[in-house]
Amino acid sequence: MIEAVLTQLTSLLTNPVLLAWMFAGVTLGIIVGAMPGLTATMSIAILVGLTYGLPTDLTFAIILSVYVGAIYGGSITAILLNIPGTASAAATALDGYPLAQQGKAGYALGITRLASFVGTLFGLLLLLAVAPLLSKFALAFTSVEMALLALFGVLISGFVASPDLKIKGWVAAFIGLLISLVGIDALHSVQRFTFGVPTLATGFAFVPVMIGVFGIAQIIDNIARPAGERIKQSGGIWPDFRGFAKYLPLSLRSGVIGTGIGIIPGAGEDLGGWLAYLSAKAASKEKDKFGKGSTEGIIAAETGNNASIGGALIPLLTLSIPGSAPAAVLLGALLLHGIRPGPTLMIEQPHVLPLFGAIMLLACFFLLIAGILVAKLFVKVLDTPPKYLMPIVAVMCVVGAYAINIRMLDVYVMLGFGLAFYFLHKQQYPMAPLVLGIILGPLIDENLRRTVMVHENLLDAFTRPIALTLLILIVALIALQFPFWRRKPAALASTSAPPTSD
């Protein structure tokens, strides 16, 4: 594997145009991640459309660079504005902003950049180590296991992603499943839910729906938001390498947590950051410093959320089940470029994993360089008021949605879904399970029915060891939902609503 990664790395390093695009991608990602209201998922969704005509390696070099940059970029606003640019940087704000208030904004930005670098690198190493093993294991999966695994992925995603009632996560996921089933059924060639409209026969194109859900909904949500009051960035541009070195064990522990969380479908980078932060706080000798400007706090949060990137790619590439919302959109990009992730990826297209590894490795280094070279320059972009920025993003959404199939119907679909799901977003229905539902719907539908076709005795299929384990996990997950019903409305006394997910 290392040899294959090095070969890909050499090939990338000898392509200056691609390197320039990657640097631009990381920089763009940092800016996008830093701007409150613009998310990694949104930018990847738009880019999938805009890069459709480009060669595969260049497309994924740009998309993965933006992904890596955006997850780090959220920490800039978390530190300077106390507004996390992305949900994944929410934990960083707890200690990053107090540090900035103490005049250590430059120090905090440098440390988080190093933590992001280590986190991404750690996630990447685990991706390269675990993915081939998981692929071999997943080769034993038949249609029943694939269907149950996808169903488990959708359910767990709804369970972990919902900021309010867990059942809302499942509602979002199941709506996604229904959306994915519109069009001609692959097994019987019967039209489903087209209601006589011929254009619906091919179903909803995935990318326009994604752009609508993550783009348009965010634009409408943020258009009226005033520009934040930024703390002036003080201190040097060089990160404190020596200061960071003594926190390396903490960083590695947070990396393990972040990657582990990233593997869980739909859990995403924000949960990775939060759990790494809470774990660091629990283990720290200076617990009282947390929330008041703890270096341990920002390192744990940033390593955790960036390590989740590699984690989220593990189930994506080996099982075709994305670990986070950006990874879900990335799956759409892979399919558009004729790459079918799953257990057979390592056999049919063995160059994909090393290519991803090489791109992410380069993106890590570009993250450090971009941070040093243009750090002070691009924080000025944060001063752009949303009233100017959001209409421009809306135009990008339109161009991205149109470019895939060159038809206006996709733009209408994007806008329709965007406006409709804005209301669900405001009602605390999480969008990540919805996306996962849209992606995994056909997989569940076709494999479940194929199981019935293949097995005369269904009991034989569902009592295979892996299938039975997954079935038990699904039942346990559903059973966990029941206590919510008995819960007394004690929370009604609270003056604040649950946080909005992004």
Binding site: G53, D164, L165, I167, K168, V171, F174, I175, L177, L178, L181, D185, L187, H188, V190, R192, F193, I216, I219, I220, D221, I223, A224, K387, Y388, M390, P391, I392, A394, V395, V398, V399, Y402, A403, I406, M408, V411, Y412, L415, L419, F423, K426, Q427, Q428, I444, D445, L448, R449, V452, M453, F484, W485, P489, A491, L492, A493, S494, T495, S496, A497
Partner: protein, 168 residues
């Protein structure tokens, strides 16, 4: 008599109630169509479990159950006084924030449905950008006009000319 002020969570549950009702309506339609796809289409030689409607039937019935649970829960926890009164609805729509969001959604609809495809992309985009920027409070139209023109031109040149991305 002093009335207790509504907590944000009570407000959220009140809106949950309405949202779940609307979604329930959609799910019932899907359920009926799924039942048709399951039972009205001649079953394959194996069983009903392989018909195209079986999975959507399972999903829509699960959704109906879950949405019913949300309706009951939000009815239990929310506050519903004046939910459907016209004055309450109008006052909730008349806040600056909501009006601005509705205006932007409207502008986007006009841009996508009426302008694109009929007017040249760069022209339609410049007009949309100008309107969307100028509509916000405390923005000066003379500042927005050149900004909108430059951005629209840049998008056209970068994507349409250099990157050869097809534009609407």
């Amino acid at each position: 008599m002093e009335t207790e002020q509504e907590t944000p969570l009570q407000g959220l549950r009140r809106r949950d109630f309405v949202t779940a009702l609307v979604l329930l309506g959609f799910c019932i339609v899907v359920f009926i169509e799924s039942a048709r796809l399951t039972f009205a289409i001649p079953a394959s030689e194996q069983s009903l479990l392989t018909t195209p409607g079986i999975v959507p039937l399972f999903i829509s019935s699960s959704l109906i159950l879950m949405l019913t649970a949300i309706i009951v829960l939000s009815w239990r926890d929310g506050r519903f006084s004046g939910l459907f009164s016209s004055s309450a609805i109008i006052s909730s729509l008349r806040t600056q924030d909501v009006l601005l969001k509705i205006s932007h959604a409207g502008l986007l609809l006009v841009y996508v449905f009426l302008a694109l495809g009929r007017v040249h992309f760069a022209l339609a985009t410049a007009a949309y950008l100008f309107a969307a920027m100028a509509i916000s409070e405390d923005t000066k139209p003379w500042q927005c006009a050149p900004l909108a023109t430059v951005i629209s031109g840049a998008v056209y040149v970068v994507f349409g000319v250099f990157m050869k991305v097809p534009l609407p």
